[in-house]
């Protein structure tokens, strides 16, 4: 069955499922008619180094994807829809074995002005070591991003996706397999798009895989930002940490739902997830569902936590006492809150670049 037939055979998703509890499929579908598969445009993609120079050999963006992605573990609906919609908009990011450029690489995706979609397959070579920033910009009313593929054995990769669209809806789905002893930091920085529905899934199918999933989410006005993150431990001695920070202002709503599973046989697995929400206005709302399913008793530990609260009055007082005005103190505390996950997403150069982008966004949102 091809992806389009698979999608159409699935029907309307169940709202009792946490994945669709807060954001209905209809609301993030390009037309709202879930039986429709409208034609979608192709965004522009370009690869460069963080300083604007050409990327070195060892990393290239090729049009097309070899074979069909394996979605057996994943959210069938979103993936089937995106996969079917992006048949003429497929790329593979090929990274050679032992590739190590020394500087972050930027993959810029310009969505254009009309609805578009892209499917990017990651083919990250063994023992490579690099940082990738995927930056999404544009004025499109709707953009779909499907990322699949694998980070192969021993690779060390900092993988940050930065959503900076000016408006519209972002539908994102990741289904990425983590290889043996691979070390991955998967960061999401979201401060654009009016509506985001994101479903990120990482499969730890080989021994010794290590992943830190990090989120810095800034929502304002009437934004609706819904992230669902799943990490599946299916091999011994796998390690994961999920740390998700959301700052919500205006009448925006952020949703963070997580699922950690430890399959039987994943001895020595170590997993934890934390959602922190900073509520900045009376009508903002933050929802969290950090779920755990543990089917192996011989684990190092599995835990989760979530905390919601306003800006700490003592911290505000401390900054006011040192000459910050109300707005300056508030902005500094929001920036510090978001920076605690941002700073873990990569090295100094990547971090400085992200901070700069986020500061611009804070200014643009008048926060």
């Amino acid at each position: 069955m091809d992806s389009a037939s698979r999608y159409l055979s699935l029907g309307k998703p169940n709202r009792a499922d946490h994945l669709w509890r807060y954001t209905s499929w209809k609301k993030v579908h390009p037309t709202g008619d879930i039986l429709e598969m409208p034609p979608l445009g192709q965004p522009e993609l370009s690869l460069s180094m963080i300083d604007g120079s050409e990327p070195p050999s060892g990393i290239k963006l090729e049009q097309g994807i070899e074979g069909d992605p394996d979605f057996s573990m994943d959210n069938a609906l979103t993936n089937a829809f995106l996969d079917a919609s992006a048949k003429s908009s497929e790329w593979t990011l090929v990274v050679d074995k032992r590739f190590s450029p020394g500087k972050p690489v930027i993959l810029e995706i310009r969505t254009g002005d009309s609805p578009s979609v892209a499917h990017i397959s990651l083919d990250i070579g063994e023992i490579s070591e690099f940082e990738l920033i995927t930056k999404v910009t544009g004025r499109s009313e709707w953009f779909g991003l499907l990322r699949t593929g694998q980070i192969r054995n021993g690779a060390i990769m900092n993988d940050v996706v930065l959503g900076l669209q000016e408006k519209g809806t972002l539908l994102r789905s990741d289904a990425i397999a983590i290889g043996r002893d691979a070390q991955v930091r998967a960061g999401t920085v979201s401060s654009g798009s009016e509506r985001t529905k994101s479903d990120l899934r990482y499969i730890m199918g080989d021994r010794g895989g290590n992943i830190r999933v990090l989120g810095s989410i800034l929502s304002a006005d009437s934004m609706h930002i819904d992230h669902h993150i799943e990490i599946h431990h299916e091999a011994p001695e796998t390690f994961s940490r999920l740390s998700w920070h959301s700052a919500c202002s205006g009448s925006s709503r952020t949703i963070g739902t997580g699922m950690l599973t430890i399959r039987k046989g994943s001895k020595g697995a170590d997993a934890a997830q934390v959602f922190h929400n900073l509520l900045l206005s009376e009508s903002a709302e933050a929802d969290s569902i950090p779920e755990l399913e543990v089917m192996e008793n011989d684990v190092v530990g599995c835990g989760h936590g979530t905390a919601n609260g306003p800006i700490d009055e003592e911290q505000m007082f401390y900054l006011n006492a040192r000459g910050f005005d109300e707005d300056g103190a508030k902005r500094s505390l929001i920036a510090a809150f978001l920076n605690s996950t941002l700073s873990e997403m990569g090295g100094a150069e990547l971090h400085a670049w992200l901070v700069n982008e986020l500061n611009l966004k804070l200014e643009a949102l008048n926060m």
Partner: protein, 470 residues
Amino acid sequence: MAKNNDAREAVGEYKAGWHDPENSTIRFDFGLSEEVVREISNLKNEPEWMTEIRVRAFKHFMRRPMPTWGNMSMLEEIDFDNICYFLRSSDSTKNNWDDVPDDIRNTFERLGIPEAEQKWLSGVTAQYESETVYHSIREDLEKQGVIFLDMDSGLREHPEMVKKWFCSVVPFADNKFSALNTAVWSGGSFIYVPEGVHVEMPVQAYFRINAKNMGQFERTLIIADKGSSIHYIEGCTAPTYSTDSLHSAVVELIALPGSHIRYSTIQNWSSNVYNLVTKRGIAHEKSKIEWVDGNIGSKLTMKYPSVILKGEGSHAEVISVAYSGEGQHQDAGAKIHHLASNTTSKILSKSISKNGGRGSYRGMVTVSPKADNCKLNVVCDALILDEGSRSDTYPTMEVANSTARCEHEASVSKVSDEQLFYLMSRGHSENESLAMIVNGFFEPFTRELPMEYAVELNQLMALEMEGSIG
């Protein structure tokens, strides 16, 4: 001898797994229909409005699909056509144990209820199958105006009060099983504590299923008037059969301003009982509702005691433990809704899975936009004792007020080798050490129970832990 061993193996160490010969005065045929619902109401000579609610609830139950979450495969196994929805074992409720039929009295004596009543309870109600067979309350409480009746008598003697509060906290359309309960409810407790009265010693209800393929659907309604307090304890057991029984209760608590209700449960159904229960309370200004909930038995439990914090300054606590053994799924949790300002809540959940059992915490906490300065804390801890067992946590937190301070933390782990080594190096066997660790793990729960219950629970857990190692 071999036969005895087989029987013992089937029953396990479940101490309440015996059954009496069935001596019913009225027994309905298996299956549910509008006629059954009307007949139950007719037998009880109920007012018209109650019959109407029952019938509406029955129609809702028939229309409503099964839940599409939780352990759906186990739920699908329930055969609603193979359940007896009403069985009367005694012609009337007695207030003297000597008047209760011998076999039923013997059962409750084996369960230790009359003895506990003498020593440390203010009142007791004992339900056997569908109806209450024994009921008593201390005279001094009766003089103070405390009403403690079985629910059927409550409806007969205080119809206006029941009409006012029945279904006010748990509407029949709340879920499929609350609809079922409202349609065929029988028994349960009705309690009213007048303004300013403190019931110092707990009152207890004990629920016993004896017959095969039995459905027990008790309904409990507790109203604590302004400034009053009460502690209600319920216990439940059933014989072990190879076919399944269904227990689907609804409990409604109303804590009026300044009152305090504590509701403690030790659920120890046999492993062939589906335990699908809806428990909810409404807390008015400065009142307090506590659910202390122990789930040891049953095949599948789905129970999420809830509190709606409606009045400013009200407080809710849910402390629960769950033990899941072979073939068991304890899907338990808590729900708290902060609707008013300055409300606080605390959830503490502990679970242990062993011998392939599955323990799930499923919780929900919400803070509404108008509820300022709320504080809530949720802690879930789970122990998985062996391979093949499983623990899940599904917490939901919805916060729509920026002044709320909300915390949730959970951990899943195994018994640490260091703790075992420490205790064994001081002369305890492995099983003793494990039982001590498990009792320590459950201690935040047991310390909230009356001492007699805590001792019993500790012994029960020690028994369950036998053979866990080696």
